[in-house]
Structure formats: structure tokens, C-alpha cells
């Protein structure tokens, strides 16, 4: 395949070291097919020596065990929730929404990086997406799964939550389409379906690779079925390219629309602090911000434990950090503007919003706002400096800070605005209960479990796209050699 000279030259830093096509199969495929890959490097369990435990844990087992434990906590929380009711949480009057919606929005936000990387960067022909898109897209799907638990189960009567969907029924009732919650149903379910389809279509050539490399008969059969008869013929590839482009085109508007619609849950309300026009772009930027933070949080240990440093290089981390910084600045601007408009409008309700958020001495939840400014506004500013973007430790800390900060952003928006709104007599308070936290950490457990099962069972990097990168780099080398030889 001749190197298309009209395209931009391949950035050599995207794939370091010398590799062949077979290397890609091996490096990524073996993570799935070879169980021993998950055993190194061994991590000493803290306190193991004291307890007399003789072995060191593999990172996969350690984190999977943690995730699975938390998943069990989630199951217990859900059972108690369904048995007893929403009252086990801290929600009350006036705070009808608490951790349930905070966590819903947090999880949906985290999912946005995957779609942006898979779809928008594909349409923009950015080659650096090749090694991270599979993992990021998986993150999206699992994050949306975790998020989806909340709208279904935060309702008082979850057994009839399906009434939010427009299905033909004998009640002769449609859902009430003017409600943002119905829009959420459409947005989130579309997001889920398109993400799964896109992810799966992308996986087909890789399933074929695994099918061809597998030694175990059952493995061959399962990946064979999943690869749906992929032969790698020219026609297959052509259809694959077309399908990817179409799905990317469908997914691109979703990056903007899904979180916009989630922001309408608030922006369409009349609660001061919710009825803010900047919400749609600010939420979308925040979602990309949170999503990239989660991708970095995963990518850094992943590349170290599985020897993927040449595939997910410092250049990738650099680019991701830059996107995080850019969206972080938009989000910071959003915080400042909200507070500025509240003051500038001189509307008494809005001015009181200003007081509730910023006044550390008068307002009970203002600590959350200042923590938010610290985690989301100030700490990410270290990414302006290249040295910090190159330091794995700094990147890890910053991305964790952003994840926490994005959670606080929704905390600031939801309980602070609800506890102090129109009528002074209705002012309230919000204290989350054990079950609020249990369900939240439980969803984190679900996410970790799914991610680590994904790590074990599916190729964590898009093998085909990496081979494409290898090929294009070879061609570039040939062209350079030719150009060199010509002189």
C-alpha cells in the first residue's frame, strides 16, 4: 500500500521501538491468550509478611478482588434499596436528588472520553488514538452501565420505571416528552447502543486475530463465533472501513448531545443554581475532562504492568494531558462565570447562590465549592509545564484529582442548590448515609470488575489499528530511505 503523500507524515513517537506486524499480535494478543501475562510484576501485599502470607499478588488479581468485593457491596445495596426504599439514602425534602444523581452524572461524564477518542479523533484522522481507543471505548460502555443503574433505581417505584419509555400500552399513555428525564432515556440508551455497536464492530478483526492465534479449542470456538466469519478479505476490510466511518459519524454528535441533555436535567429546572444557560457546553467540557482523567488513570498502570509502554507512549499521555488541560480551563471558566453572573445579575436569589457557594463562614456546604476549585481548577494547571506532563506520578495524581473534582462539581450543583432555594422556610440540609456511599463504591466495583474482565478477555488495544500504524511507519521509513538513497 503506497504511502499516501497527501496525508500528514506519521509521528514517529507514536510507536516507539522497532516492531513488526506480528509483534502487535503478540504483544496485545498474548494478554488475552496467555494467563501468565497477568502475574507480573508481583505486588507485595501490604502487611502480608506480618500475616504470614507467603505470596505476592499479581496486580490483576489484587485489583480484580477489590473490584469484585465492591461489586458484592453493590449487590447488597441494591437488594436493600429495593426491599426498603429510597429512604435508606440521605435524600429528603428539599433535597430530592443527592448521591443518586451526582453519581449518575459523574459516570456518564466519565464515558465521554471514549466516544471522543473513538469517533471524533477518527474523523479528524488523528493517529494517536489508535492505541487508546479500545480501552477508552470499553470504559465508556462500562461507565454508562454503572450510570444506568441510577436512573432506574433512584426512582421510588423502580418496577414501573419502564414507563419512561415510549412503548405501546393499554394505558394509552406516552411518557411526558417535555421532561428532561425522558430526553435522558433517549440520550443514554442511544449512547449505550451506539457505543456497544461501534466497539463490537471494531473488535471483529481482533477477534479473528485471537481466533487464529488461540491454542485452546474452546478459545478458538468462542473467538471464532465472535469474529463472525472474518476472513480479512479486501471486501471485508472495505466494509469495515465504511462501517467505522458511519458509526464514527453517528457517535460524534453524541459526544456533544448526551451530556447536553443530561445538563438539561438541571438547566430546565427553576432552582437557582440549576437554571444556568452555560450548563450544556460546560457539562460537555466537564465530561471530556473527567473522561480523559479516567483514561489516564487506567493507561498509566496498564502500560507498565503489561509492557505496553511502546504502544501507549509518553506522546499519547502528553496529548491526553493537553486535552485534559484545555477542557479543564473551559470548566474553570464555567465555575467563575456562574459565580460572576450570580453576582452581576443582582437578582437576590442568585446573589444568595453566590453566598451559599463561596462563603466559608456562613454557608454549610461551601467547603465543597472550594475543594472543587482546588481539585478541578488549580491542580490541573500544573499540566501547563511539559515536565509535569512527562512525569507519570504527576499525571496520575492530577487525573485522580480531576476525577474527585468532577464528583464535587456535581455535589456543588445538586445539594447546595437544593438546600437553599426559593423559600427560606424550606431550607434544608443533606447528609448522605452509609448506603449512599456503599452504592457509589459498589458502582466503582462494578466498573473495576468489568474493566479487568475486559482486560483479560478482550484485546485491550486495537490490534488492527496498531498494525496499520506499523505499516505506515514502515512506508514512511521506506520513503525516507528512498529519499535518502536518491541523494
Amino acid at each position: 500500500m503506497a504511502h499516501n503523500k497527501a496525508e500528514a507524515p506519521i509521528d514517529k513517537e507514536l510507536l516507539t521501538g522497532t516492531h513488526t506486524l506480528a509483534d502487535m499480535d503478540r504483544i496485545v494478543g498474548d494478554i488475552v491468550l496467555d494467563p501468565s501475562k497477568h502475574n507480573s510484576p508481583p505486588i507485595p501485599i501490604p502487611g502480608a509478611k506480618l500475616l504470614g502470607i507467603g505470596f505476592n499478588a499479581s496486580p490483576w488479581w489484587l485489583i480484580f478482588a477489590m473490584g469484585f468485593g465492591l461489586l458484592n457491596l453493590l449487590v447488597v445495596s441494591l437488594v436493600v434499596l429495593l426491599a426498603k426504599g429510597i429512604g435508606i439514602w440521605g435524600n429528603n425534602q428539599p433535597v430530592g436528588w443527592g448521591f443518586d444523581i451526582i453519581n449518575f452524572v459523574w459516570w456518564i461524564g466519565i464515558g465521554h472520553a471514549g466516544t471522543l477518542i473513538s469517533a471524533i479523533l477518527l474523523l479528524l484522522k488523528q493517529k494517536w488514538r489508535n492505541s487508546i481507543n479500545r480501552m477508552a471505548e470499553a470504559m465508556t460502555i462500562f461507565a454508562v452501565m454503572c450510570a444506568g443503574i441510577y436512573p432506574l433505581l433512584h426512582t421510588g417505584r423502580p418496577w414501573v420505571a419502564y414507563w419512561l419509555m415510549p412503548y405501546p400500552n393499554i394505558l394509552a399513555m406516552w411518557p411526558q416528552f417535555r421532561s428532561p428525564l425522558v430526553w435522558d432515556v433517549f440520550a443514554v440508551s442511544t449512547y449505550m447502543t451506539i457505543s456497544i455497536v461501534f466497539w463490537f464492530v471494531g473488535l471483529i478483526p481482533d477477534f479473528a486475530t485471537l481466533r487464529d492465534r488461540a491454542k485452546n479449542r474452546w478459545t478458538q470456538i468462542i473467538y471464532g463465533m465472535l469474529s463472525m466469519g472474518w476472513r480479512g478479505s479486501a471486501r471485508h476490510w472495505q466494509r469495515y472501513e465504511h462501517a467505522s466511518m458511519i458509526l464514527a459519524g453517528l457517535s460524534t454528535p453524541l459526544v456533544l448531545s448526551v451530556h447536553t441533555i443530561v445538563s438539561y436535567d438541571f438547566a430546565m429546572g427553576i432552582v437557582p443554581g440549576w437554571n444556568v444557560t452555560i450548563f450544556p457546553p460546560y457539562f460537555v467540557a466537564g465530561a471530556v475532562f473527567a473522561g480523559f482523567a479516567m483514561v489516564i488513570t487506567f493507561a498509566i498502570p496498564l502500560r507498565k504492568w503489561y509492557g505496553l509502554e511502546n504502544l501507549i507512549t509518553m506522546k499519547h499521555l502528553d496529548w491526553m494531558a493537553k486535552i485534559m488541560l484545555a477542557t479543564g480551563l473551559i470548566v474553570f471558566y464555567g465555575y467563575i462565570m456562574e459565580v460572576f453572573y450570580a453576582w452581576y445579575s443582582a437578582v437576590p436569589l442568585e446573589r444568595s447562590l453566590l453566598h451559599n457557594r463561596t462563603n466559608l463562614f456562613g454557608a454549610p456546604y461551601s467547603w465543597a465549592f472550594w475543594l472543587l476549585i482546588l481539585f478541578n481548577g488549580l491542580i490541573p494547571q500544573v499540566l501547563w509545564f511539559k515536565k509535569n506532563r512527562q512525569s507519570l506520578k504527576t499525571l496520575m495524581w492530577v487525573s485522580l484529582s480531576v476525577s474527585i473534582g468532577m464528583w464535587f462539581e456535581r455535589y456543588v450543583i445538586i445539594p447546595i442548590s437544593l438546600t437553599r432555594d426559593w423559600l427560606p422556610s424550606a431550607y434544608g440540609f443533606y447528609s448522605p448515609t452509609f448506603w449512599d456511599f456503599a452504592m457509589f463504591f459498589g458502582t466503582i466495583g462494578l466498573f473495576l470488575t468489568l474493566m479487568f474482565l475486559f482486560l483479560r478477555a478482550l484485546p485491550v488495544i486495537n490490534i488492527y489499528e496498531m498494525k496499520e500504524l506499523v505499516h505506515q511507519m514502515h512506508d514512511a521509513d521506506h520513503d525516507d530511505a528512498k529519499a535518502g538513497a536518491a541523494h
Binding site: G85, Q93, W97, G156, R157, L423, P424, F429
Partner: protein, 410 residues
């Protein structure tokens, strides 16, 4: 000996303590499983009474302990500034008689200008004569377009002779001059509408289920409050049945809808419990069944005999709120229909209205100008709570007008 908790109350006379006698219950039901006073039953002050002297006891000593007692308050100690008369933000409007009689923008009856016409309280539209015979504006009014008090124009719906009985437009006024803050409206509503008692722990979490509550505010002056004797103001707040209800467009399953008679209806069997309506209500009058508060009635079936059979009992996960005693409205409507007549003024009496000892609540069909509620709404004292939210509520409040002795003021 009685060991009891002390709650300081602003405005109480110095060197006095008020101790309440109750009905002598030492243990409660489902929500009061543990013996009183731990779970909200109170303190047994009867221990101070003796048969020798049941009316008075002397020689009582008071000793302060270092114990801590957790109280369940339904409201913070909110203060509002009611001195600023031209503030249309104030939730409790108040005036003294002199200022009221002098008049001014705040004391106009709520007839608004819709473009160049003046819309009267009963909805009739009067074109306003300005200078040069052209349509203009009254003196002192600006050109701004102001929304009418109600969206229901009787001229459009039809005359009373033609109207069917479904076209009553229910409205309510609450007279803040008459409200003493006794709270009987809350209890009457609870009894009439099968509102569950949730117990002290749930009240502490902010989940009391009262559909009508009496808000209590302390009145300050220029940002300062006199803790020794602040004026206290009461305001009963229930669902005000907004014509432009913010709760209606946000319900995803259309469980809260509007009737042709002006009631904001809560449809219990459609509610899935997303609680968006409660978040969007600026008056915060919606109540959610966070737990199965009527478990006790399920356990002991005979307890359903204390409930009102005309009102459904809500299950877990369902939102509820004031219905303008729709069961009473329906009962009267059926009677009137059987007798082939209109519903008379004062025939429908809501539970809160019936119980109020000072008759501060007036309820009825607002379209007939001779009805009490229409006259009440036409009063110069009438104002809308949270007017700036533009919800056009059917329940409006009559401003409090004081007439203090000038020598007291000095």
C-alpha cells in the same frame, strides 16, 4: 423528678419555663418502638402533679444537667426582613395601617396591565384611556407588560348560565392577619388525607409528610434581630396549585397534571418517584414517601379504620401533596349534580379551612365576583407568594396590616 430537654425560644419572657403536659402515653406505635422520651414521645411532666395540689406546685427546683437531647425541627430558625415595603421579593408582606391607607404601588389590587389594557381581578379586560383619547397607561405605571393574576378569562369560558359544572375555578386565600400559627390546619389535613406519621428519626432527616405546614419567621429590622422579643410571623403553605406549575413539565410520566378546574393533580398510580417535581417546586410543598410509611396499617388491618375512606393511601415511592381536598369537591359536585343545581359558595370546605379557628382560609369558586374568595382576591391586601417565579398560583395571601399604638412605637 422530671428530666427534660430545654428548647430556647426567642421572645419568651425571662425567667419562665414552659412545661407541656401530654396525654400520658409512654410508648408509641411503629415509629415509636422505644419508650418515650427517646423516640419523640416527650417527657412525663405529670410527675410534678400531685393529687393534693393538681393545679399548682410550688418549691420546684431547676438543675442543669450536661446531657444532650436531639430535637427534630422541621424548620430552621429563619428570619426575614419585612421592613422593606417596596420589596416584591418578601414572602410575608406586612404594612401598618397608615401606610396601607395612603396607598402606593404595593397596595394596589392585583389588576395588571396586559399591553395597553387593564385586566381586573375577575379577569375582565378594560381598555385604559390615556391622553388624547388614545389607549394609554395609568399614571405612575410604566410601559412594561405585566402578566394577569390568572390565565382563566371567564369571558372566554362562557357565562354561568351556559357553563357546565366542571368549570368551577377553585381558588383559596389565606389571611395573614388572622393566622395565629396554631397548626390545626396541619393536623386537620393529616387526618383528612391519611397522611402518615413518620416518626422522629425520619423528621430529623427532613421527611415529614405534612401537606400544609405553618412557616414561622422572626422579623428583623435592617439586618438585625432582637432575640429578646422579635415579632414572629406565621404563614401556612400548602400546594398553591400554580396555573403555570413548574412541577408539571418535568414529570417524565405525566403523573402531575392540571385539571380544567384549576387543580394541580397528583396521580399516585402513575408516579414512578423520580422526585424532579419536588425539586422544581419553588414552595417545596411536595412530599415523597421515601419508605413504606404505612407499613403499620399493612401489619394491623384494623388500623385502616382510622383512615378516611374517601382518600387513597399512598404507597412507597409515590409523591403526594395538597389536593384542595378534591374528595370534598367531588362529593359536593355529585350532590349538586343529583339535585340539579350549581355548587353554592361555601359549600366546599377544605379540611384546613374547616379547622382554622380564626377562619383565615377562604376557599371557593373564584369566578363569581360575589363569592367570598373572589372578593378576597380582589382585596388590596392580596399578594402572590413568590410572585417573581411567575407560577400564577391559585392560593394567594392577604397581606398583614398592623395598627400599632403610636405610643408603643416611640
Amino acid at each position: 423528678e422530671v428530666k427534660a430537654a430545654v428548647a430556647s425560644q426567642m421572645g419568651q419572657a425571662d425567667d419562665t419555663i414552659v412545661v407541656h403536659l401530654g396525654y400520658g402515653r409512654t410508648q408509641g406505635g411503629e415509629w415509636l418502638r422505644e419508650p418515650c422520651p427517646k423516640n419523640g414521645g416527650g417527657f412525663n411532666a405529670f410527675a410534678l402533679r400531685t393529687t393534693n395540689a393538681p393545679g399548682i406546685v410550688t418549691g420546684v427546683e431547676l438543675e442543669k444537667t450536661n446531657d444532650f437531647y436531639s430535637m427534630a425541627n422541621v424548620q430552621f430558625h429563619n428570619t426575614i426582613e419585612v421592613e422593606v415595603y417596596d420589596s416584591d421579593r418578601e414572602v410575608i408582606r406586612e404594612s401598618n395601617l397608615t401606610a396601607f391607607q395612603e396607598g402606593g404601588a404595593l397596595y394596589k389590587p392585583k389588576a395588571f396591565f396586559l399591553g395597553k389594557k387593564e385586566v381586573q381581578i375577575d379577569g375582565t379586560v378594560v381598555p385604559h384611556e390615556g391622553k388624547d383619547g388614545k389607549e394609554g397607561h395609568a399614571e405612575g405605571e410604566t410601559k412594561k407588560k405585566v402578566a394577569p393574576l390568572t390565565m382563566y378569562d371567564p369571558n372566554k369560558i362562557g357565562t354561568f348560565e351556559e357553563a357546565k359544572e366542571t368549570l368551577n375555578q377553585w381558588a383559596m386565600t389565606v389571611d395573614l392577619n388572622l393566622c395565629t400559627g396554631c397548626g390545626v390546619c396541619t393536623i386537620a389535613c393529616q387526618v383528612e388525607n391519611n397522611i402518615p406519621a413518620v416518626g422522629k428519626n425520619e423528621v430529623k432527616k427532613g421527611r415529614e409528610m405534612h401537606w400544609i405546614r405553618v412557616d414561622r419567621y422572626y422579623k428583623g429590622h435592617e439586618g438585625k434581630l432582637d432575640p429578646k422579643n422579635p415579632p414572629i410571623r406565621f404563614q401556612p403553605v400548602a400546594c398553591v396549585h400554580c396555573e403555570k406549575a413548574p412541577c408539571e413539565p418535568v414529570c417524565p410520566v405525566a403523573a402531575t397534571v392540571h385539571s380544567h378546574e384549576g387543580l394541580n393533580q397528583m396521580v399516585y398510580n402513575r408516579c414512578v418517584g423520580t422526585r424532579y417535581c419536588s425539586n422544581n417546586c419553588p414552595y417545596k410543598v411536595r412530599r415523597f414517601n421515601f419508605l413504606h410509611y404505612t407499613q403499620r396499617v399493612d401489619d394491623i388491618p384494623i388500623l385502616s379504620m382510622i383512615q378516611n375512606p374517601d382518600v387513597s393511601v399512598r404507597g412507597r415511592g409515590v409523591m403526594e401533596k395538597c389536593t384542595y381536598c378534591v374528595q370534598r369537591i367531588n362529593k359536593v359536585r355529585i350532590t349538586a349534580k343529583k339535585e340539579g343545581r350549581e355548587i353554592a359558595d361555601g359549600e366546599v370546605v377544605t379540611a384546613c379551612q374547616a379547622a382554622c379557628p380564626s377562619q383565615a382560609i377562604i376557599f371557593g369558586d373564584m369566578r363569581r365576583p360575589e363569592n367570598k374568595v373572589a372578593q378576597s382576591r380582589a382585596s388590596r391586601r392580596n399578594y402572590i407568594l413568590l410572585e417573581e417565579a411567575n407560577t400564577k398560583p391559585r392560593t394567594t395571601y392577604l397581606m398583614r396590616v398592623n395598627n400599632p399604638n403610636p405610643e408603643l412605637e416611640a
